[in-house]
Symmetry: C2
Subunit: 145 residues, 2 copies
Amino acid sequence: MHITRYTDYSLRVLMYLALKDDELSTIREIADSYGISKNHLMKVVQELNNKGYLQAIRGKNGGLRLAGAAEAINIGALVRDTEQDFALVECFGEGDGCVITSACQLKRVLGEALESFFAVLDQYTLADILPGGKARVMTRLLNIG
Amino acid sequence: MHITRYTDYSLRVLMYLALKDDELSTIREIADSYGISKNHLMKVVQELNNKGYLQAIRGKNGGLRLAGAAEAINIGALVRDTEQDFALVECFGEGDGCVITSACQLKRVLGEALESFFAVLDQYTLADILPGGKARVMTRLLNIG
DNA sequence: CTATAAGATGTATTTATTATATATCTTATA
DNA sequence: TATAAGATATATAATAAATACATCTTATAG
């Protein structure tokens, strides 16, 4: 049971930008800070841009910044938005071949559990995972000026 | 976000055996009923046997049956037991390379969400996902005697 | 007005994980 | 003692995810 790195990186980018406040950051800078693939991060950033989580400013002296306040970005919504596939077992998706699907209650039960998972995430915003006292520590860990 | 087929098949095997009551079923028969890989199912069955969920009887006229009552098999416990890896994001596992792990609260939040996921599954037993009225339908779908 | 630094996009490759297949061994019973 | 069942180990295939590469677009500094 995993969440893709795609979603993980989405969260990390937004955390980074939240710590930088209004200052612009480049993709290269963020990739270097975390030591992860710049190319992969580009696609993550583009999706976050398309979905309105951040602003991407092209051209020389361009860069990225959060589109709004960290308090306005809900973790549950973000994870639902970036993670693509919540088909926990075969019968959730298309092309289900399980012969008992029509009578089996497993899907309903797992669906309920998944809702409960998100209900917890829905209680937190980006600001909550960067709590006050810890923000300074994270800023240092990322070498953000 | 997925649960492996390994876990899915574990659940299906136990459902099958629950529907057959005390009668023995063979791996071949279960694999054929669901139209899935017999070889893969063998490993699933062996783990279920090792963990005490079912009894495997070797030799001619052997087969499988539930070790206890369907009411005694908790879905949450079963999923925890068969699904191997709950490292939702990188920082849950070993070899975590994320530089902000020590200050970041994401792991705690995702951990809480995962607990909530299982808290729901913990409320159900194998018997609950084969409810009375539906059991007959499932028996027909599986072509069980 | 042009060189450069930034993001945007599409495709290809690599890697990791999951699923399946094959082969051989063990056990029990007719 | 032949056969039908599960047990075990290894190998291969399929799928999904992550990363790399190449090229295009945009904006600003000089």
